[in-house]
Amino acid sequence: MRKKQAFLLALPAVLALTVFFLAPMLYILIKTLATNGLSDFVRFFTDPFYLDILWTTVRVSLVSTLVSLLLGYPTAYYMARTQSRMKKVMMVIILFPFLVSAVVRSYGWMVILGKNGLLNQFLLGLGLVQKPLSILNTETAVIIGMIHLLIPYMILSLVGVLQSIDPNVEYAAYSLGANPMETFCKVIFPLSLPGIISGCVMVFTMSMTSYVTPKLLGGSKFRMMATMVVQEINVSFDWGAASAISYILLAVILLIQVLVVLSTAGYMKRLGGGKNA
């Protein structure tokens, strides 16, 4: 009885997702397969042009995820452990970018990274470079924009799990002779793995599917999977290719997520409820 009532509560959202997301997705797949068979998929995997786009997408996403983790972890650790008022201030700073759209933020980066942008003026002014660096319209610019866009998700996910680690566990490690590095490697890091995984999966997925950032910061020659879908539709009018790309993107993301979940399932099970005592 209770289960039925709970299902009723979930029904509106389930219905909305089924009608507006699942059904169109299936429609696109069936339509593509019915019209062109598997040829669009075969073309993708046999044409180096497409494979290169897939590799670029995965590479940009991996780098963005890794850098977000490396930059986000110390911040998250500080926020999880500090008692000062800085914590609230930092939380606001981290949440603030959510109030500004990705488009606006990308334009901001264009102003900074452009040929006559703030960064180049600064470097030229200091005499650190002789001629302006071309960062805008490169993969580097996309990665920078991506990290800026996604690092809050990483930090929030890490803060949650780091806060749940009992500080006494750290002290216990110290008292047993572990220096700060050993304490981190053997205690803090393994205990924060659930947050690292959820943060990385979230950032990686959003980076894989991003459209605005590569479009605006990567320039016309830079292509990622999502921008390619739009290009196939708007420029080549090739709906078959577009739906094949979107399905391959979906499959790659799912595959990586499944691999991550499977490879860490044993450890997660051992951690159990996470906290104890």
């Binding site: 047993l176 572990a178 700060p180 005592a277």
Partner: protein, 354 residues
């Protein structure tokens, strides 16, 4: 195994002084209890000894050497946390072996020492379990084994029994004392529970607001608290205000709201006649008697609390304050019953009011 000395140890947080000029010397193998309510500075003291907090002033000597500049991971001080703080991602074996692995011992030696210590805390056979698969008492013994296995110079125990049920508490009291004596480790135990302190420690230190109130043997602290505050903390239940008179033989009279109670002169040494004083007595030392005599007061029962082995009464009308005898007779005492309360002179502690 080592001696521990605190000299003028002080910790301030802004304007708040958590620990105020604390001096203490623990002999090799001694077990000392820091006893006090929350916020009395006992845990801060422990954290400073462990090296997790830096003293504002004063020094901590282990075997005569100042450890102030030594980071916690080089102090070789074992610590047991109130919430055990076991590593949740490690098995019992891995938890206990953690410190030994860091000492770069060989595998067979680690296995042997872990097995020995697990036998000592009676956890043999549970080494492959994870902490969450253990009961509270078992987790506690893992924490104790983990703190002991590295053979620390000094062992710090933070509220070691507070999370256990009554039966386990008694068992663990015996266990901790046995293990501590067996290994002869100098031990500081922090607790808010006076029974825990007197039952475990060789010496008890009562703290309040960062200051030491009294240092003494469990018996001294339990029977002869040095102030009304310590008496209150040690479970004295009846406090009577009065004015003390001059010596009459071995005794001195105290006039308490018009009634006379006699106290031994030895208990009131150095208090001038005419001074206002507080008398303190434990419940279990106050009896109900049938015949009037010295220090008997008539009163009316205003509350009855059944406590199993004893029944705690509140008797009003004897003096201005409520007198709380604990009786362990089978006869039922009724509310409103008139009784005769006897407070034996030898059991009264006398404190001059300040």
């Amino acid at each position: 195994m080592a001696t521990l000395e605190l000299i003028g140890l002080t910790k301030r947080f802004g304007n708040f002084t958590a620990v105020d000029n604390m001096n203490l010397k623990a002999a090799d193998g001694e077990m000392i209890a820091l006893l006090g309510g929350s916020g009395c500075g006992k845990t801060t003291t422990l954290r400073m000894i462990a090296g997790f907090a830096e003293p504002t002033e004063g020094s901590i000597l282990v075997d005569g050497a100042d450890v102030a500049k030594i980071p916690p991971y080089k102090r070789n001080i074992g610590i047991f946390f109130q919430n055990y703080a076991l590593f949740p991602h490690m098995t019992v074996f891995e938890n206990v072996a953690f410190g030994l692995k860091l000492q770069k011992l060989k595998k067979p030696e680690i296995a042997q020492r872990v097995a020995e210590i697990l036998a000592l805390v009676k956890l043999t056979g549970l080494d492959k379990r994870y902490p969450r698969e253990l009961s509270g008492g078992q987790q506690q013994r893992v924490a104790l084994a983990r703190a002991l296995v590295t053979r620390p110079h000094i062992l710090l125990l933070d509220e070691p029994l507070s999370n256990l049920d009554a039966k386990l508490r008694i068992e663990m009291q015996v266990e901790i004392k046995r293990i501590q004596k067996e290994l002869g480790i100098t031990t500081i135990i922090v607790t808010h529970d006076h029974e825990e302190a007197v039952s475990l420690a060789d010496r008890v230190i009562v703290m309040h607001e960062g200051k030491i109130q009294q240092i003494g043997s469990p018996n001294e602290i339990f029977e002869r608290p040095c102030s009304a505050f310590v008496a209150d903390f040690m479970g004295f239940s009846t406090f009577i205000q009065g004015t003390i008179g001059p010596q009459e033989g071995e005794k001195r009279p105290v006039s308490c709201s018009g009634k006379l109670l006699y106290v031994p002169s030895a208990a009131a040494e150095g208090i001038e006649a005419g001074s206002p004083v507080t008398l303190a007595v434990r419940s279990e030392n106050i009896q109900l008697v049938a015949e009037e005599g010295e220090n008997t007061l008539p009163g009316t029962i205003s509350a009855v609390t059944y406590k199993g082995t004893t029944t705690r009464l509140e008797v009003t009308g004897c003096v201005a304050e409520t007198v709380c005898p604990a009786v362990n007779e089978y006869t039922q005492r009724q509310l409103g019953e008139t009784v005769l309360v006897h407070i034996p002179a030898q059991r009264i502690c006398v404190y001059k009011n300040v």
